[in-house]
Amino acid sequence: MKGKRLMIVDDSPAIHVIIERAAAANGYEVCAHAKNGDEAVKQYKLTMPDVITMDITMPVKDGLAASKEILAENPDAKILMLSAMGDEEIIKEAKDIGITHFLKKPFKGEEIVNVINNMISNQSGG
């Protein structure tokens, strides 16, 4: 997965570190960091990453609203939504707007890399 670009959206800097460590070790380039939905939308337009990891609960604008805007911009955007225990209703809504990939917190570094690998190989396959 050399050279694929990743944007991390999360309000917790520590999660950024966890994801970035795992992704960088597997050849991904983290091209953008956003700490809320608003920044995510802006950064997306600027950097056009291949994959986005999206937290749900964030200040200013939550992950669901940000995903909606990003999908409106680019319906093919690959968004991996990171949910926590208790986010079941939001996951339902997210599926309605067309998000297909979810990962439940807490995850291990290799887990998230696996999911991202899958998302990307699906794209190149289809």
Partner: protein, 743 residues
């Protein structure tokens, strides 16, 4: 049951999370209090929800299940409020606050434990929390409160409270885990009660002292009383009526409840606290204390509960009849107390402030320090232009710009320093409790007098000085002040006094701890030191009183005849001293037998920037921190005398030791031709020493850069710094130097 401990393997990550969590928890309590009135404010709810949610998410990553579980339950409760499934009532808010407090406690423990295991920076550490059962009881309290809220929806306010309490009792009485719960709740309750009482007393104290009519005082007392009530409620709900505590607590609960109503009248009508109220306040807190402490020692309590209840009710009635606003009901009216919220808003409008993380301030301080170094190079260039390039005009111009920048950076530094300043009050506040505890356990009568609480000092210093101060205060109260009988027999007043005093003098902050107790017996110290082998008899004979007194700072030294629970484990004073020296402070003792002891702590205003004197010795440049320098003098060669391989001289009537800096650092021989020698007289609080250097240069600001690794432990050197010309110079540690010179 859940597992009791956790292995954390990525300390850095955990630290990051902890920083996040502390930020999330900050001010959460206040926000939750706002919920009491604004439970329909979705923005407020979302904000609280998000914070708790992010703690939950983070803790799950590092495997801290207890934090995940607790925050999940809090989040669940908040979600119920958000989705309008429950109506918010006092009990619910109380249990939420309890849970948040507990979460705070966990994170506090975590921080402490992480600090303890600094050694294996990136290894795995094992963390164990000891509050499992308490967590269970808190979670249960939260769940119960939630259930009650769902049930009692849309019921009449007055009956809500009653039915809630009864229902809660019924449900909980049938539970099996009750006794286990009760134990956990009891400890929690006792600790909290003591805290709240302290808060009330502190407020009362401020009213008495300043006669302040601030409405915030009533609010604070109200809040504390309210919390006590909540605590009693929860504890009551976990015990059965045949528990020995039950009857007393039931009474107490009624008194506190009525007292709260009384306070509500004051608060809602914006009345100023008057003498009757304050007297009553004291009576009630005394009563609570009585019940609570009796409680702790498992005794029965039959204090005049009826009397107090009567007084509270009588006063309430009197107020109600005289109060113009007769619509005020007897029920505590937190739910409709819009006045409280608007009060807070008004207050915050007056003092506009921004909350900034200390990290940012530290970073800024660091940068300003760099600026100070960079600025010094202007002066350097200016003199080079003049001397080496022969451009005096240019040199003057650069000098002008330099001094302009100098002025700005000075101001910048001052402003930033003032931002970082905190009143010593924040740590002084802990002390009355410390002294009270000791006087109660030892049966001593001690009055703590605090002066200069408004003196300001850098925040990092405040944090570092807290433990040493507590230790010194304990020592003063425990070892210093004698028992009443002993005092009377010595002709002293029965009640001993401990004075805690802070003041500014010469760019330093001084904190003094003074007691009028038995004082330090120098002979005792000498005997002990010889006994323990710190010094030999002959050495002891040669030492001055001040030097002997300073022996108590040696590791492993303790003159207390008896090791007590509170102080005197023989590890104290050396740690106190080293902690104070770590922040460039200094500690000195003055003591006289049977008159008392005074510890004087001298602290720098700030840690980041210091002033120092640049000197040269054997071709090397060094900086002496100004705090340690008494004076600089020229000593004629012929007045330096040599005895037993030691040098000394007369200075203003004193005999002081003389040593060459170059000899101490073994960097070369001293210059011998000169007739007059430059000396820096340094002092560590007890001894003075004249340190001979080749040249005394200028005074300069410097920024301490600590030396790492094996360079860090060179005796006599505390760090390095950069001069304006980029030269690295070593910072001398005068306290070490004196020790080295004496050897």
């Amino acid at each position: 049951m859940m597992s009791k401990g956790f292995y954390l393997d990525d300390i850095d990550l955990v630290k990051m999370f902890i920083d996040e969590w502390t930020e999330c928890l900050e001010g959460l309590e206040k926000e939750i209090l706002k919920l009491e009135v604004h439970s329909d404010d979705s923005e407020l709810l979302n904000n609280i929800f998000r914070r708790v949610h992010s703690i939950k998410g983070g803790s799950s990553f590092v495997g801290l299940h207890c934090i995940t579980r607790l925050s999940h339950e809090i989040e669940f409760t908040l979600d119920a409020i958000r989705k309008n499934r429950v109506s918010v009532n006092l009990e619910l808010i109380d249990s939420l606050l309890l849970a948040i407090d507990f979460l705070n406690g966990y994170i506090g423990q975590l921080i402490n434990k992480l600090e303890e295991c600094k050694s294996g920076e990136n290894g795995t550490i094992y963390i164990e929390f000891d509050d499992d059962e308490k967590e269970d009881s808190i979670l249960n309290g939260l769940k119960q409160a939630l259930i009650q809220c769902e049930k009692s929806d849309k019921e009449d306010e007055k009956s809500v409270e009653k039915s809630e309490q009864e229902a809660a009792l019924e449900i909980l009485q049938s539970e099996e885990f009750k006794s286990r719960l009760a134990e956990g709740m009891k400890d929690q309750f006792l600790v909290e009660c003591a805290e709240h009482i302290e808060k009330i007393e502190c407020q009362l104290f401020s009213v008495l002292n300043n006669g302040s009519d601030d409405s915030e005082v009533i609010n604070e007392i109200f809040r504390a009383v309210h919390s006590i009530k909540g605590g009693i409620g929860i504890y009551l709900a976990t015990i059965t009526p045949d528990n020995p505590d039950y009857a007393g607590l039931k009474e107490l609960s009624e008194i506190v409840h009525n007292f709260e109503s009384l306070l509500a009248i004051f608060r809602d009508n914006g009345m100023t606290p008057e003498k009757t109220l304050i007297d009553l306040c004291y009576e009630v807190t005394d009563y609570i204390k009585n019940v609570v402490s009796d409680d702790a020692s498992q005794e029965c309590h039959n204090v005049n509960a009826g009397d107090i209840l009567e007084k509270v009710n009588g006063y309430t009635l009197q107020l109600q009849t005289t109060s113009k606003n007769s619509t005020n009901s007897f029920v505590p009216s937190v739910r409709n107390s819009d006045g409280k919220i608007s009060n807070i808003q008004q207050k915050s409008a007056v003092i506009q402030s921004v909350r900034v993380s200390q990290d940012k301030l530290d970073k800024m301080m660091n940068m300003i320090s760099e600026l100070l170094i960079a600025k010094n190079s202007f002066m350097h260039i200016s003199s080079r232009l003049n001397l080496e390039y022969d451009l005096p005009e240019m040199s003057k111009e650069i000098k002008k710009v330099g001094s302009y920048i100098n002025r700005i950076s000075d101001e910048l530094q001052n402003v930033l320093m003032s931002i970082r300043m905190v009143k010593v009050k924040t740590i002084f506040q802990k002390m009355p409790r410390v002294v009270r505890d000791i006087s109660q356990t030892n049966g001593k009568k001690i009055e703590l007098i605090m002066e200069g609480e408004d003196t300001e000092i850098d925040k990092t210093i405040i944090e570092q000085i807290s433990d040493p101060l507590v230790h010194l205060i304990r020592n003063a109260a425990d070892h210093g002040v004698e028992t009443p009988e002993e005092r009377l027999s010595k002709g002293k007043p029965e009640c001993g006094s401990v004075i805690l005093r802070a003041y500014n003098k010469n760019k330093s902050v001084y904190i003094e701890i003074e007691d009028d107790g038995r004082g330090i017996d120098v002979e005792n110290v000498k005997k002990k030191a010889v006994e323990k082998g710190f010094i030999t008899e002959t050495e002891a004979g040669l030492m001055s009183k001040g030097q002997l007194m300073n022996l108590i700072f040696l590791p492993g030294f303790s003159t207390a005849k008896q090791v007590t629970e509170v102080s005197g484990r023989g590890v104290g004073m050396d740690i106190v001293k080293s902690n104070i020296e770590k922040i460039n402070g200094n500690i000195a003792i003055e003591s006289e037998v049977d008159k008392g002891t005074k510890f004087i702590i001298q602290l720098p205003l700030t840690l980041a920037v210091s002033h120092g004197l640049i000197v040269e010795a054997a071709g090397e440049t060094y900086i002496f921190p100004l705090e340690y320098i008494v004076e600089t003098v020229k000593i004629p060669r012929n007045s330096i005398h040599r005895f037993n391989k030691k040098y000394f001289t007369h200075l203003r009537g004193d005999v002081i030791g003389v040593e060459w800096l170059s000899k101490i650092f073994l960097t070369g021989d001293c210059e011998t031709e000169k007739d007059e020698l430059n000396a820096v007289i340094i002092s560590n609080g007890a001894d003075k020493y004249a340190i001979i250097v080749d040249k005394l240069k200028n005074e300069q600001e410097f920024v301490v850069k600590t030396l790492d690794g094996h360079l860090g432990s060179i005796p006599g050197i505390s760090g390095s710094t950069l001069l304006g010309n980029g030269q690295v110079v070593l910072i001398v540690n005068p306290a070490d130097i004196i020790q080295l010179a004496q050897k």
